[in-house]
Amino acid sequence: MAGEVAEISLMTNSLGMSETARPQDEALRSVLTRAASGDISAFEYIVELYQKRVLSTAWRMLGNREDARDAAQEVFLRTYKYIAGYKLDRDFAGWLYTITLNVCRDHLKKRGRADQVTSLDSELEPGEFDRLACQTDVEAEAIRTQQQALVARAIRTLTKKERAAIVLRDIEGLSTGEVARILGTTQTTVRSHVSSARTKIKQFRDRVLKSGRQG
């Protein structure tokens, strides 16, 4: 079974996220069928396969690690709950993304941050970005943490829809059509959200760089 999982994992990685709309391979189908019939060990492999992707998406949507962890746990609980009704001809990764985005949306609503979009003009520490550039390798972990914090702040300048679109398109690498299908909207709308999100992120980065130079 472990070999089977490794094979699936390799296959999933090789396919890449843009291939998620393709019909599932037989091994994955078999695991999904067993999980749907209540086999916990099969579901455990599904968690193993997708946990990193779900956590990453949740982190992008929610902006911090703890919220992402809670949300991802909820995603897998919901998946387990509804997997009996899952149709095998449907793209599983797409289905999982839909659940992930819905859970993240619920989390944002619950915590009253659904519409809390940080302005691009929010305060930035002078030299924040330059510090990242001039650190030594010893402090690589701290640099990464700081960069993650900056990206999280950049994400907060986006609306909920822009966030979902940019995360699926640019981070997860799904095609515009797949993103549109997952979000239940049109490709034109997705392009509009993605374009707007990229512009805002660039503006945020420009401001960070500018404040760094001034500091």
């Binding site: 916990i40 579901f43 455990e44 968690v47 193993e48 946990q51 990193k52 956590l55 990453s56 982190w59 992008r60 690690r65 992402a68 962890r69 991802a72 746990q73 897998f76 609980l77 387990y80 709950k81 990464r144 960069q147 993650q148 900056l150 990206v151 999280a152 950049a154 940019i166 398109r169 640019d170 981070i171 515009t176 392009r191 993605v194 374009s195 707007s196 990229r198 512009t199 992120i201 660039k202 980065r205 420009d206």
Partner: protein
């Protein structure tokens, strides 16, 4: 002018989201325009920066996470299944819809029951009004017969009683007609009771029941003082 149009396309160009025609046109312009080429570089750098900020979930974190998920699943399996289904069923919107439907149902039932109550009240009022007239007639007969046995001056001529048709049973008339008939009978009985009271032969007793629509009117003969017995004639 062309720069402005291309600037709008650049965010989509860097992600490969433009159609082939638009992409070709944008690339052709960028090759000749230094500002737009610089903008493309900035967008690409920004996109790269955004992608690099991905959180790093190490193996320890991931294994801990998986363990938590499985524990939560085991816990949920131990819980009765109906709890999940009920929790799913009674979400907020559905609860509001159910409450609204229940309120509507209660309102409809209250309306119909009150309407029915009015009809019943009207019927019972008519029945109650018919009873005393009947009783008073019977009582009158008793009085007359007892008086007839007494040796006393001829009693006053009894006022001929009207024959009420309240007791006569007829086939049920249509509802509107029945209401009219009942109303006219009630009025008629009220007049008659008033006349009786005026003649002071009967005492009118009214009993108000718990239902304000139902009043029992009872006419009974006024108890007269027993006639002064003449000891001479008694023997």
């Amino acid at each position: 002018m062309e720069c402005r149009r291309i600037e709008l396309l650049i965010p989509l160009l860097v992600g490969g989201d433009l159609s082939e025609t638009d992409a070709e046109r944008a690339r052709a312009h960028i090759q000749t325009c230094a500002d737009c080429a610089s903008l493309v570089s900035e967008y690409e750098a920004s996109q790269q920066w955004f992608r690099q900020g991905e959180p790093d979930f190490d193996e320890e974190f991931l294994s801990g996470f998986k363990r938590e998920v499985l524990q939560a699943i085991y816990k949920s399996r131990r819980e009765p299944r109906h709890r999940w289904s009920l929790a799913g069923f009674f979400n907020n919107r559905l609860a509001i819809a159910c409450s609204a439907a229940a309120l509507l149902l209660i309102a409809i039932l209250t309306f119909y029951s009150s309407r029915k109550g009015q009809e019943i009240g009207l019927d019972s009022e008519a029945q109650q009004a018919a009873i005393p007239a009947e009783e008073s007639r019977d009582t009158n007969k008793t009085v007359d017969s007892s008086r007839a046995n007494e040796t006393r001056p001829a009693p006053e001529p009894v006022k001929p009683r009207k024959i009420y048709h309240a007791r006569t049973k007829k086939a049920p008339a249509p509802r509107a007609q029945t209401t009219e008939i009942i109303t006219s009978r009630v009025e008629y009985l009220k007049q008659d009771a008033a006349e009786d009271a005026a003649s002071q032969e009967f005492i009118k007793t009214e009993i108000q029941t718990g239902d304000p629509k139902i009043r029992i009117i009872w006419l009974h003969p006024k108890e007269t003082e027993p006639a002064q017995s003449n000891p001479l004639t008694e023997f």
